[in-house]
Symmetry: C2
Subunit: 364 residues, 2 copies
């Protein structure tokens, strides 16, 4: 029997995540028959290299997806809104890194270490979660399995590249300007296209994405509802309470998170037990030794696929309550690697096929 090989398309190939989708795919176990690079007309014609072969970026159209088996999409919400259904209609399975489809009841939202089983019965579109959510659930899931999980309070320390290559470039340019005694120019953060822009260099911005009416940012909203959907199968699950604050920090790559959590009571949770569960968990590297000053740091996590956890310790005044510090490369586990990892699992489980009639679920 001949092994199946796959015709793959990357949609949004030229961004910070797009280029990493290519390198993660190069290093993956997926047997690639052909690779097509798709982007907006602005980027069409650019040359990129995959496995030593020069490829030319093409402008994405609905017909670009004919003959494609698997699409890795990182072109933003409106691009995925438009093209994911067209791809599915043409028989391609889409793993989508945008936020557009994540809350759709017909779309599984998947972090393989947590809810790989949700890939079964997909309808052609699988959503990749928000970067800050992904690393948090990778760290929380082994704790939930061992001791249950009632409550999460998170504060994020999010890198500039979470807002794309332009935000990363702007951070470096602002830092250089400030060091030279010049004025910092801000055109991207906190939100592209917003009324006001602020420098991130040597600063902190407690706004990621737009504000909701309830005073939370959309990033905070995502962390609440995506966590519930991934871990408990329902974006409004009452099985766990999740809340927090998302803050942008002047770091190029690597999100940090202080995660405070409460386990179920009477499950015997201790710091040692939690560390034990984390040390055996897939995708997690426990870096937790205060005596040796060992704890996760963004500069050490950059370029790695794992989620790093340290500073595990109990709240000294509240039962069943603990702190931990979680760091991961937001462009890899937070985006490109989780997307390619989902694709790997789809291949290994022989799920790269659109069920008959499924395309209709995504028609406008």
């Amino acid at each position: 029997m001949t092994e199946r090989t796959y015709n793959i398309a990357i949609l949004g190939a030229t961004g910070a995540v797009g280029t990493r989708l290519m390198s993660q795919l190069e290093e993956s176990t997926i047997p690639v028959n052909s690779l097509k690079l798709l982007a907006s007309s602005r980027s069409a014609g650019k040359k990129l290299t995959f496995k030593g072969q020069e490829l030319t970026v093409e402008e994405a159209t609905a017909d670009s997806f004919s003959g494609v088996d698997l699409v890795l999409a990182s072109g933003g919400g409106s691009v995925s809104q438009r093209f994911a259904p067209e791809a599915v209609k043409r028989g391609a399975v889409v793993v989508d890194n945008s936020s557009y489809w994540r809350m759709n009841d017909n779309v599984p939202l998947v972090v393989p270490e947590v809810n790989e089983a949700d890939l079964q019965g997909h309808n052609g579109i699988i959503a990749n979660p928000n970067c800050s959510t992904t690393q948090m659930v990778v760290a929380l899931e082994p704790i939930r399995r061992a001791f249950g999980l009632r409550r999460v309070i998170v504060s994020t320390y999010q890198a500039a590249s979470g807002a794309g290559q332009t935000a990363w470039d702007e951070l470096v340019a602002q830092t250089e300007a400030h060091n030279a005694g010049e004025k910092m120019v801000a055109n991207i953060l906190p939100v592209k296209g917003s009324d006001k822009h602020y420098p991130l260099a040597y600063n902190l911005l407690p706004q990621i994405d737009v504000f909701e009416d309830d005073g939370y940012t959309h990033e905070e909203w995502k962390m609440i509802h995506e966590t519930k959907k991934i871990m408990f199968g329902d974006k409004n699950s009452k099985s766990v309470k999740v809340t927090g604050t998302a803050v942008r920090v002047p770091v190029p790559v690597g999100h940090g998170e202080t995660v405070y959590f409460e386990t179920e009571s009477n499950t015997g949770a201790t710091s040692a037990g939690i560390q034990q569960a984390l040390s055996q968990a897939p995708g997690v590297i426990l870096e937790d030794n205060p005596k040796k000053q060992l704890y996760p740091q963004p500069i050490n996590a950059e370029g790695k696929r794992e989620t790093f956890v340290g500073r595990v310790r109990p709240d000294l005044e509240n039962d069943d309550s603990f702190h931990m510090w979680v760091v991961s490369d937001n462009l890899l586990k937070g985006a490109a690697w989780n997307t390619v990892q989902i694709a790997e699992r789809l291949v290994e489980l022989d799920l790269v096929r659109v069920p008959v009639g499924a395309a209709g679920k995504f028609e406008a």
Copy 2:
């Protein structure tokens, strides 16, 4: 009646806080008769300007404090341990910015907006709290007064200058090196004299001060016990539960804090009520308007004496629980300004005198 004027000494005049003690004193209401600048032998001979007059830094000895009414100390723990009792013995009142005396039962730990009354009955030494504690209690106290306070969970985003001028300089040097593609050199952070040093530039360090045996850093320990002593008069008070994680971020000046708190139940706490209490509170500036993208930022807080609060909103799934985001200049309200403010209050309340017999309380 002639107004009393004061002979003042600044101990540790040459550091990042020391120079700000001078500028805050220049701008204060305290009638200064004379100012003496004291430091280690290493800094003796340096010239600094106060109110247009050039002053020479002298090496601190026990006798330096003869004839001094008021000492503003920022020379570090071992310096304050040694010299504060000598100063008190010679009749000088010491406002100490180090951590050495803060937990001493004979020493009030004071943030004027919170517990000015604790200045009454002092014994000659008054302690200034840790920077991250000060701005938090300024923001929490008006909430406690209006709605009670049961629980606090804080995550800090602390600036390099909290570890002194050398840490600040190192951050800038590391950033320049990184931007130039050179190796970053780390000799100061996370803790001077520790076994390992890590770069802060473009990074996050979840360690401030040394680790305690229970896995908390000493900075986190300070935030717990100083908050209890300042707000409830007892470093082990059970009236409020406090916990958190302290993280160093690549910002030169201005600490940020996500503060999650629970009020007493049935006190009618709402975000609007909390915002109202904060807007009328001394030392607080409410910057909280999501529609206008208004929230506190370190680059706006630098050089200001106030504590800035924004992002006030309820936890959507837990009663009586709220988030806020607190920013202040760690070198001013977190250090120099709070010290000078205490001195101002001592002057206004006519408390710049050492009670008879008090010096004995600090003898080794």
